[in-house]
Amino acid sequence: MKRVELIDVSKSYDKQVDVISNINVTIEPGEFFVLVGPSGCGKSTMLRMIAGLEEITGGTLKIGEKVANNLSPDKRDLSMVFQNYALYPHLSVQQNITFGLDVKRMKKEEQRKKAVEVAEMLGLTEYLDRKPRELSGGQRQRVALARAIVSETPICLMDEPLSNLDAKLRAHMRSEIRRIQRNLGITMIYVTHDQVEAMTMGDRIMILHEGKIQQIGKPIDIYNYPANPFVATFIGSPPMNLAKAEFDPKTSELVIGNALRLSVPKDEIGKLPRTSMTVGVRPENLHPATPENQEDVFHVEVTNVEILGNETVFSFKLGEEEWMAKWSGQWHIDIGDRMPVRMEFEALSIFDEQSGELIKKTIDYGNYVKQQEVSP
């Protein structure tokens, strides 16, 4: 259990542009901290700086209470799952797993026990004697994961550790990693591209974009109240639909993408900016219109449909934007169909057009089983 603190940290390769700039964040002891961001935004670089593999160009890194900028990696007492595994080609799976333990001079017998245990957990039991090159991609990744897990260091860094695993195994691993992290009180910094991992595993998420922090917060808060359009479209899949909008004071309506008019409740009018703004709505908040509820319904022409099994996503044009709606269940929709879609003003997120700042949050969409009627 150790705190990791980054103060004004930045990094550039070869003195060129910063790939990471002015990162300020404190990761609390025992926290599960998830790092997400588009490919190439600097996630791995940040992990590698924390691990001491990459020099820190500017700023201060503290591990525990100590400044660690110049501490060598082996003194930092952490473990890491590398994005490209970094397995030792000359060692068997078991030796790869126990490599770190051996370094710590743990007894051979105990090493073996631990290796067998973690291999069991990761479904590697039958591969313990193989060399890495005789393994499938996913198996290799699991070996890398096993190596980090057995080491039981107070800090653990994982760089997309589950990317090559199938959904089932991944679900299993998610809960296992979370369990171990909780039980041992490990401070975990976890990079992922998987929305489910990001939403379910982390105590907090940090969203990075071009080396800059976009937002840090609880997963659900980020989902509900994204700080800016970037976060809004990055978290959630399919992403939040965005469009330019203007308030028409004459009709008290919001004109979205020059195509859609939505009446604004009286008490909200004051909060809207007079100039144009960016509005966003999550695909799942574009509901199918029911015969009972014909308010705020508009019809759209479907341009693409994807049935994911338990839900259906279809796209349509709104002004110049391509929007998507996600309905649960399997809907037999064809391209070209005109669909009635209902959207509520409450579900909108509104961002300042210039700064991108969130002006209006969606209302809390939580379904409280106890407090209110159960309803979809």
Binding site: R48, S79, P89, H90
Partner: protein, 270 residues
């Protein structure tokens, strides 16, 4: 691979390797010939006669020489492996001021003709009172720029992820060297080992200059003892000597080859 190209490759393999190996075969044949047969320039001996071999063994304490050669070669081989791998490791995995300069200094030692340094070295060995000792025969060769260079080139190809992973695992510098760098560089180590062994085995002038009696003499001196200057050389005996001297090294190459093969199939990085 198609059958046609396979046949083509086998053809090339057989023809070229026959060419390469021919001189050895030739020497082998001659070693079984009698004087007149040799003079007549035959290729196959009329009858296999071991006379030349018995002569070689009776003339020289050849087994003793072979044993000395073996001890000296193995010591130099091991010494070189240790000293060179340490140095190469420092050149690849440490960053320090003047690294390139020191490396070049090392390389420059290869450019100094050995013949030019030999005489002062003989004096040094005498001052150290190392005449007729194994250390006199071996120690000067432990540091080898060539070996350092070879290993450095190989160490440079080790993916840096392995170094990183080891650092994270808390491996000290030395243990990374020992546990990771050396095992994954097996091929180069075997190559260098073979090189060190063979060159030492084949050394002539140095062992001659710093030994004055049979006690630690090596087999190449024996080979020279078979040739005479003013009196007619018995080619058959000389070739028999050549064969006796090269058989251990060829054997070693063969075994080394197997080792190398094994190392290679396991070692392929990434």
């Amino acid at each position: 691979m198609g059958l046609a190209s396979k046949i083509w490759i086998y053809f090339l393999l057989i023809v070229t390797s026959a060419f390469v190996f021919f001189p050895v075969l030739y020497a082998f044949m001659i070693s079984f010939m009698t004087g007149p047969e040799i003079i007549q320039g035959k290729f196959f001996p009329e009858s296999i006669s071991f006379e030349n071999y018995t002569k070689v063994f009776s003339r020289l304490p050849l087994l003793n020489y072979l044993l000395n050669s073996f001890i000296v070669s193995v010591s130099v081989m091991l010494g070189q492996l240790v000293v060179c791998s340490l140095a190469a490791y420092a050149f690849v995995f440490f960053k320090f001021k003047g690294r390139d300069f020191i490396f070049f200094l090392f390389i420059s030692t290869m450019m100094i003709p050995w013949e030019a340094t030999m005489i002062p070295n003989v004096f040094t060995i005498r001052k150290l009172d190392w005449f007729n000792t194994y250390q006199g025969l071996t120690l000067p060769f432990f540091a080898l720029a060539f070996g350092t260079f070879l290993l450095r080139q190989h160490f440079l190809t080790i993916p840096k992820e392995l170094h990183e992973a080891s650092q994270i695992a808390g491996l000290s510098r030395f243990r990374f060297f020992w546990r990771v760098v050396l095992p994954v560089s097996k091929t180069s180590l075997v190559t260098l080992g073979a090189y060190g062994f063979l060159t030492t085995w084949n050394m002539y002038l140095w062992p001659l200059l710093i030994t004055t009696n049979k006690s630690v003499r090596t087999v190449q001196i024996g080979l020279k003892q078979l040739q005479s200057q003013e009196i007619a050389t018995e080619w058959g005996v000389v070739m028999a000597g050549v064969i006796v001297v090269i058989i251990p090294t060829l054997l070693l190459l063969f075994i080394g080859q197997k080792q190398l093969q094994k190392g290679l199939s396991q070692g392929a990085l990434k």
